[in-house]
Symmetry: C2
Amino acid sequence: MKKQKPLILVTNDDGITAPGIVALVEVMKTLGEVVVVAPDKPQSGMGHAITINSTLRLHRTKTHGIAEEYSCSGTPVDCVKFAINKVLKRKPDLCVSGINHGSNMSINVIYSGTMSAAVEGAIEGIPSIGFSLCDFSIDADFVPAKKIIKTIVENVLKNSLPKDVCLNVNIPKLKYNEIAGIKICRQARASWVEELDERHDPSGRAYYWLTGKFENFEKGKKDTDVWAVENNFVSVVPVQFDLTAHKAIKEIQNDWKL
Amino acid sequence: MKKQKPLILVTNDDGITAPGIVALVEVMKTLGEVVVVAPDKPQSGMGHAITINSTLRLHRTKTHGIAEEYSCSGTPVDCVKFAINKVLKRKPDLCVSGINHGSNMSINVIYSGTMSAAVEGAIEGIPSIGFSLCDFSIDADFVPAKKIIKTIVENVLKNSLPKDVCLNVNIPKLKYNEIAGIKICRQARASWVEELDERHDPSGRAYYWLTGKFENFEKGKKDTDVWAVENNFVSVVPVQFDLTAHKAIKEIQNDWKL
């Protein structure tokens, strides 16, 4: 009996027209049957948002003409929900998100639409991976990333992933032979020092752009994703959707004397 | 020397006009100096979304006339960023979010704007709590919730919280004397069985509403938030923003033979 090819769902947060998703589809087509369900416009920074206060649209498209492609008016997480519940004939064997144009290391995992799509895949019990290339340029070179992604996806298809875990993969902006290796690591403790860039509209009223500076509180910690990428490694962080701070349960029980 | 009153930031995801935020402000005013920065419209299900592709507005308002109040055009997380970086004179001693109209138990922590605001507070090093009342009604009775919230906030102001941890508090829809107690617990493993409710617009084209049924995979597990609330307890789950699945790091290292 012929073994069924893996069914691979591809999504992203930069929108269906982004070069990053084309690169990801090209790799996935060498590994399985590919269906794309991606946002119809950029959805960066959407985190785990879902659309419940307005309606959604789904359209079959031939944007790239390289796979079965659908665009969705919602968030990256909405796209995964549409794929599973409306588009795909069966539960996919893999859900991949990206390739994001820009890094999603450290605390950015929580703001990232790319990663939230992967987390949603994991919630649905699908081995899921978010891929990001640390290069914002529309002309970013995805060739080295594609080789890395193929290696990682082959490993995941072969070994699957631990239960309730997806992967956050960040790829440094380097030539393939400059990449030091793939490093399984943890999310660095970091945050954004925000600035609200105040401007004034033609009527003189204030409006703001959210901007900021990334601050890594764990500089030099070699087991973190930020260290890995800064030292030419591809970082792979296993990510979970159980947000319980298990160790804190006892501590609070003791403090509160309930 | 007179001790400074705690500075308390109040936000929510139902928007500044919601009755739940008024109830929360009323309790907080008995405990400290209150500043409200809340969305100018409902932002349920926005998760940890931030606004980076469009501009933001912030307006001083007198919606309720009971505190220093600002409305923000962004998400709950944007509101916390505005409060810290633009509105407040100093870092607040506490950030509270809610009272949400409806539950945020289990996996809903990840979709909830209410909880994401609290998580953002925690990322900023502020003791933070999200409160939800398991009653969607605009006429919900917040009186029992207010007593519970006062007890919990007094505990947090006295003992603070473990580092990098905020609280997800869900309050059952009960009279005060029917509440069995406050239970520190963990997030139940659950997910949504989604349906995409397909309808047709006047031109005959399909559109969809995201809807679904909550499915708890850990029925009867007494250490979970869902069990607690179903058994008349207030559930308190300590929540962390380190999403690393630490136990999975070794497992993947072994599997992949990198």
